[in-house]
């Protein structure tokens, strides 16, 4: 290892050659690292940002609000440096060091697109919303049935054992419901609903025979998972958890990988491209630039996992130009960068409730409730006006009035006790894969490391817009039937990207002519390159995607190891 490489593990591999290279240390890269290391492969993990050590680097998260200079508010300077990142709910005075500086990390919005990023070891696994929902064949068969996108090369039975495999290690709390469209997983005990949520769940069941409201399935640990957790109900997850109360690469997969002595972690490593060997038709390794010293360096391995996040991985592929692949590595299909999807959300309803005045709650539950998809799940629920469907996340609570008329003793007294119970539900809807929703590299506009920036050209179209009306109205209908008062609807229509579920730009498929990856997340064109971050997705479904990335990663690592043993890679 060169002097300027930070070899955290201490077991320096000889020169720059490893068995496997994983690009990215976020939620899928962490899993790739763990699986490959545990299979005995000497694995180099390249991370473009700085290192974040579990617990030690979760600065200020144990401070009380009054110990923070701005009591957890964000500043004008934050808004100036991070005009995009600072609008995300998880961006606060403590968590802000986990978000990129927008000015230093530019991209080009051909159409409005909010690209939310965390460049550091662990990536956005430190910041994620922790909701974990399995997909079902309703999702894996969707493209085939309605003709949008390409058919998924896998079905639920292919991924089911891998959900089973990753979930107990992740540590997901949830309830078993027996729903075909949202299969049960291997859960820790569920969190509790509060009074109003229990009431609303019962009323929804009474009033609607096609839907249920369940407690959120969350990677917050209701029991210890190994030496992690349990969750302490502080609800400060985005700041990093000193109790290891939720799953992240930093708390879980990277320590497991490190334990094998097979991991080498190299932060400050910007991957400039994958090096392709035309003779062998394999990738040889990757070229990086050290973001601090700006020195370039090559690393070599038999297999390469790209887990740099959807747009990060896409950028690497498009920058990996060679005689064999003038349009980017493994891009003979011309699909790399296309079919960009997110979920569309920021639409729903909220209302207040008269009652339960003698009830309250204890603790700050970092989780809400979930209403699984109930549209277009069978013939009875078929819609004529749009395809696919949506789910809801939400929650109830008993807020304290934060302002009232007047000043003085009477004002103060009005603000000391909880007010009415209230509840809100917001919807997450499926975004169809459209070829023209795309990302390309812009060589004329380069970042401070000289790398081309991305042009992002993505929008929601008619199907999404039509679906949103139902997302909003159905939310209000459910809350009203559940007895809430003063029910209001909202539709903020955030730009794509703001849901932070961007995916689809190196999709899986059966045909190398129309897809980038096969059913094992292996590049059709370059057999020793695997992509298991969000870019692999052939459709978006409406569920939060992370646990599916994790399952696909473990499955692909298993396949890669078998192929390696067979001498196929």
């Amino acid at each position: 290892m060169p002097q300027d490489s930070l070899n955290i593990n201490g077991n320096a591999a000889q020169q720059n050659t490893y068995d496997a290279i994983v690009v990215g240390s976020g939620i899928s890269g962490g899993w790739a690292a763990k699986e490959l290391c545990e299979k005995g492969l000497k694995t180099l993990v390249l991370e473009r940002g700085r290192n974040i050590e579990h617990i030690k680097d979760y600065t200020d998260t144990t401070k009380d609000p009054w110990e923070l200079k701005h009591h957890n508010s964000i500043t004008e300077e934050d808004r100036k440096n991070c005009p995009i990142q600072s609008r995300i709910y998880a961006y606060d005075e403590v968590s802000k060091h986990f978000f990129v500086n927008d000015l230093e990390n530019p991209y080009n919005q051909v159409k409005p697109f909010d690209w939310i990023r965390g460049y550091h070891v662990g990536g956005r696994s430190l910041l994620w919303g922790r909701q974990c929902y399995r997909w079902s064949d309703l999702d894996f068969e969707a493209n085939l049935k309605d003709g949008h996108g390409v058919d998924w090369p896998i079905r639920y039975k292919d991924i089911e054992p891998w959900y089973d495999y990753v979930e107990p290690f992740v540590g997901i709390s949830g309830s078993r419901e027996g729903l075909s469209q949202l299969p049960d997983g291997k859960f820790l005990p569920p969190m509790e609903m509060n009074c109003l949520e229990k009431h609303v769940a019962a009323r929804i069941k009474e009033n609607f025979n096609d839907r249920v409201m369940i407690i959120g399935r969350s990677a917050n640990h209701t029991q210890k998972v190994g030496d992690r957790g349990p969750c302490q109900y502080r609800n400060k997850c985005q700041q990093g958890c000193p109790f290891g109360g939720y799953f992240s690469s930093n708390s879980a997969t990277l320590p497991a990988a490190m334990k094998t002595n097979n991991l080498t972690l190299r932060p400050f490593s910007i991957v400039m491209g994958v090096i392709y060997d035309k003779e062998k038709k394999r990738a040889k390794g990757v070229r990086i630039m050290d973001s601090e010293t700006r020195k370039t360096e090559d690393y070599f391995a038999k297999i390469i996992f790209l887990n740099a996040s959807t747009l990060g991985t896409t950028s690497i592929l498009l920058n990996s130009v060679s005689d064999a692949f003038p349009e980017g590595l493994g891009n003979s299909s011309g699909q790399v960068g296309h079919n960009l999807m997110d979920h569309h959300y920021g639409v729903g309803a909220y209302g207040s409730f008269d009652g339960f005045e003698d009830q309250y709650f204890y603790g700050r539950r970092p989780n809400g409730v979930y209403i699984p998809r109930f549209r277009n799940v069978n013939d009875k629920t078929k819609r004529s006006d749009y395809l696919r469907g949506f789910g809801y996340q939400g929650g109830a609570g008993r807020g304290r009035p934060w302002i009232a008329d007047g000043v003085g003793v009477s004002l103060k007294e009005q603000l000391l006790e909880p007010g009415k119970w209230n509840m809100g539900v917001g919807s997450w809807g499926e975004h169809l894969p459209y070829f023209e929703n795309k990302v390309t590299i812009n060589k004329d506009k380069r970042d401070k490391w000289g790398m081309p920036t991305l042009d992002i050209d993505c929008e929601f179209k008619e199907n999404e817009k039509t679906m949103r009306k139902d997302m909003m109205n159905s939310a209000a209908e459910m809350l009203e039937k559940a007895g809430l008062k003063e029910v209001n609807t909202y539709d903020n229509m955030p730009a794509p990207g703001f849901c932070i579920h961007e995916m689809g730009t190196a999709r899986m498929g059966r045909d190398p002519k129309t897809s980038v990856l096969n059913g094992n997340n292996q590049m059709h064109d370059v057999k020793n390159v695997f992509i298991t971050d969000g870019s692999c997705m052939s459709s978006s479904a409406c569920q939060n995607p992370s646990v599916t990335y994790m399952a696909l990663t473990a499955r692909a690592a298993d396949f890669a190891m078998k192929e390696l043993k067979k001498g196929n890679l």
């Binding site: 964000i74 004008e76 509060n194 539950r365 609570g397 934060w402 302002i403 603000l415 917001g426």
Partner: protein
């Protein structure tokens, strides 16, 4: 404080509802961005802090629990106005400090600092009503009246201060567990977060 911060504050204060609250808070900000501050550094004197402390104490007075002055809300306001306000709101706030004093001189013939507690309450009750009326007539994009800014900062600063959170309200840094339904009786204090 812009709409997002105001709503975020609600979310913060909703305590256990933060997830649900976020659901309808997310995404409400595009187009709601404020211009970055580019002017010279804004400074407040010790007298300014003392004056703001008295305004805050009038808004949230000492009762059987400490008031805003004990929570050092005056100082908090200056930090927030300096760091978290855009230039436009900074000007409204700073001009407002003068306007409030002028109003006191006009009404009582003396500065706010020289007015007694009863006079201060009377004056701020009036100004509060004026700002409420002004807001009712204002368009959504109009800036907030200066007293609304002072009041919001006072409430935010006080209820997230140590005395506000732990004495006026209830605060547990590390709850350790979640219970969805516990008995509540009138008079029990709300959770601070």
């Amino acid at each position: 404080m812009n709409r997002r911060e105001a709503l975020s504050t609600v979310a913060l204060l909703l305590g256990g509802t933060i997830v649900g609250a976020n659901v309808f808070l997310e995404g409400c900000t595009p187009g709601d961005k404020k211009a970055a501050a580019t002017g010279g550094p804004l400074t407040f004197s010790n007298d300014d802090v003392a004056y703001l402390d008295e305004i805050a104490e009038t808004i949230i007075p000492t009762t059987d629990t400490p008031g805003a002055k004990a929570a050092k809300v005056g100082e908090f306001m200056t930090v927030m106005v300096k760091d978290c306000y855009d230039e436009k709101d900074q000007k409204i706030f700073v001009d407002g400090m003068k306007q409030l004093n002028d109003a006191s001189r006009k009404k009582f013939g003396k500065s706010f600092m020289d007015a007694d507690a009863k006079q201060r309450t009377e004056l701020l009750t009036e100004i509060d009503k004026e700002s409420k009326d002004a807001m009712a007539k204002a368009k959504p994009e109009d800036p907030k009246p200066y007293f609304r800014l002072m009041k919001e900062l006072t409430l935010l600063g006080y209820f997230t201060s140590e005395v506000g959170a732990t004495k006026a309200l209830r605060y547990v840094a590390v709850p350790g567990r979640y219970e969805g339904c516990i008995p509540y009786k009138k008079g029990d204090k709300a959770w601070a977060t």
